[in-house]
Symmetry: C2
Subunit: 390 residues, 2 copies
């Protein structure tokens, strides 16, 4: 429970002050303050009886990754998540700041942006100590048709504001900058951990897609493998470079800018468009104009210009049907340790809603969940036009 | 609207009598009767004003497949589906047999199993005439970063019973046999059509996964490409054969039978188990003991033994939470034209529910929909035990 207030500036220009501490059960919490000297890391977690988190390197069959031999992919088994907090009443929100008599996941009585390890993680145990992350497995589990490994990684929660009833789209551009500094700093820190192969920052918004807490928040997963979608993109970029001698992401962005039919918004640092083969009713990809492998590699100009454009796009989603859009926002970043992939990959954020019409959702049923084939009911150029006009 | 009653037996032993006809808008309908001489194909579709379906080979931007250059996959655009029938009241069910004054999609006044072309298809226009399926595209659409093709294929509806309030799990084994004969006959017929690369029989059951019609029915898609999941399985089987010199599917089934911890049910023709790296809270794979590439290749013994085992599995799903399980049942079949893949592939049906606990569903949120990583809250051995005990 020791606190440190080492005040490391997380980004250029000292826009953000970072303080790290630990919760009562041993989990790490990191405050990203918009002013110096707030000392939020000194606030103590007063909760008693929280079971301590397992030390890194502990094996449990309920927290593992398993190899699917038919598809050639890792699947995460995380049985203890079944008991995670499920739509608590507003006065019991665990993501609010603590108040007298009501300790929450955040010990401080206020915060700007705060990141902490998820209490009900899909992955845990990644360590900054080399060799400490992956425990030896019981005999027989590491071979056969479906070898297992420890579910080693890390899952973090990112609270965007202490205001329970806000949304990302209601934040100020200044706050979006702080969130971006938190994403970039955590991407760098998690990428340096033993065994982490990919860092994924994302937001699920809306009960329609299974959100169990309404407080505006996102998540960060540090995976011990490269995810299937990322592997595919890396393979496509490699194959494209071999055939065309150019970069896939650069050429896609240039083609969309030249065509224009699917453009949604742009400024001098970012470009937002509906992808030509969009899977979702309303889906937007946002690329920085200068390609980088991950958030940590974005320069100051790109970080500064992101908020205004992203807020514009999110607010267009909310205006589409005159009601807050349930959406997923997914940051696609390069794998951590594959130098070739890092050279070719283009960081981007994908935002999509599952709402296809007022009162109607896009479900992933037999074609999508069974065969991996997406059927989109909206022509991408129509989706782009509606987003431009919203 | 001409009817023919050519009475082709669909399977061995003349268990099923097949009659083909056409609906008022030109779509094909095929009755699979459990007795001869019923002449259901003679019933006329009396509806007026149904817009005729486009002739095969008609290009429309609202009915197309587009290449996703980032993932290397085809995505289906099917804009006219937005207006499809959505949870009609029981007395307006379009899948009931027709009654005086109430014509439906099925002209006959009763049926056993009936298959017809979907009125709101994701894919259409596949033709038995060589060269007729794919129309020439307007200039410029067939190249660039995201080439398009016509959404050429076929989508069929399979009604399992004329009883609106039944479910698949409530069918008799005799009826399941008729359904299997229909699946096998349609797999063979669609596989012979020009441009069809994969045939997919499946059932979505339950509003929780987006079912828009309650009448017990499934669907058949004839795709103009090999689906992403099937491509992956084919690649895994190839790689396994190259490394191990054996068949991936055979070895997986043998390993599951030997281990036993994930077995759910078996008879002398079929084996049902929870896969070792299950993605879904409750998921079962059912393999025939003699590997075949597709449903049409199943022999009489396998067809005869399927019903009892499948009904047993479905009823276990319904008993898990004491309420009808929302589920997807997906028949994984070999690609149509790839001889190597057909030699290696192992037909199986995958059944899974999205219910993870009473009142709680598994949602595909940021990890699944964004990264293709599945997080399963139930340890597969626990899921298998609960299904055995149900």
């Amino acid at each position: 429970m020791q606190a440190d207030d080492d005040q490391i500036p997380a980004g250029g220009g000292r826009l953000t002050w970072q303080h790290s501490a630990h919760l009562a059960d041993g989990r790490e919490i990191i405050y990203f303050d918009e002013a110096p000297g707030l000392n939020r890391g000194l606030a103590r977690d007063l909760r008693e009886g929280l079971p301590p988190v397992p030390v890194p390197g502990t094996w449990s069959p309920e927290q593992a990754v398993r190899w699917d031999p038919l598809l050639g992919e890792w699947v995460i088994i995380a049985a203890q998540r079944q008991e995670r907090t499920f739509l608590p009443p507003p006065d019991q929100c665990p993501l609010d700041p603590s108040a007298p008599g009501r300790p929450t996941e955040v010990p401080a009585d206020s915060y700007d942006v705060v990141v902490f390890e998820n209490r009900f993680p899909s992955l845990r145990g990644a360590s900054a100590v080399p060799g400490a992350s992956h425990p030896p497995l019981p005999p027989g589990l590491d071979d056969g048709m479906s070898p297992q490994r420890s579910g080693c990684g890390r899952c973090e929660v990112v609270c965007f504001t202490s205001d329970h009833s806000a949304s990302f789209a209601s934040l100020t551009p200044r706050r979006v900058r702080t969130v971006m500094e938190a994403w970039a700093a955590r991407t760098a820190a998690l990428s340096a951990m033993d065994g982490v192969e990919q860092v994924y920052c994302f937001e699920n918004r809306g009960e329609e897609i299974g959100v169990t807490l309404h407080h505006p928040h996102g998540q960060i997963y540090a995976f011990p493998f490269v995810t299937p979608r990322t592997r595919q993109m890396v393979a496509q970029a490699r194959s494209y470079a071999a055939q065309a001698g150019r970069n896939l992401f650069d050429d896609l962005v240039a083609a969309e800018q030249a065509d224009g039919a699917r453009m949604v918004a742009a400024n001098d640092q970012w470009t937002a468009f509906v992808p030509p083969a969009a899977r979702w009713p309303y889906e937007v990809l946002i690329f920085p104009v200068r390609r980088v492998p991950d958030l940590a590699a974005l320069d100051d100009a790109a970080r500064a210009a992101f908020g205004a454009l992203y807020l514009d796009v999110l607010r267009r989603f909310d205006r589409l049907f005159g009601t807050p859009a349930p959406y997923i926002a997914a940051w696609h970043q390069a794998p951590v340790t594959d130098a070739g992939a890092r050279r070719d990959f283009g960081l981007h954020v994908q935002v999509f809603t599952v709402r296809r019409a007022p009162g109607k959702l896009k479900y992933l049923a037999g074609t999508e969940s069974g065969m991996g084939v997406w059927v989109n009911d909206i022509v991408p150029e129509t989706a782009a036009r509606r987003l431009r006009e919203a």
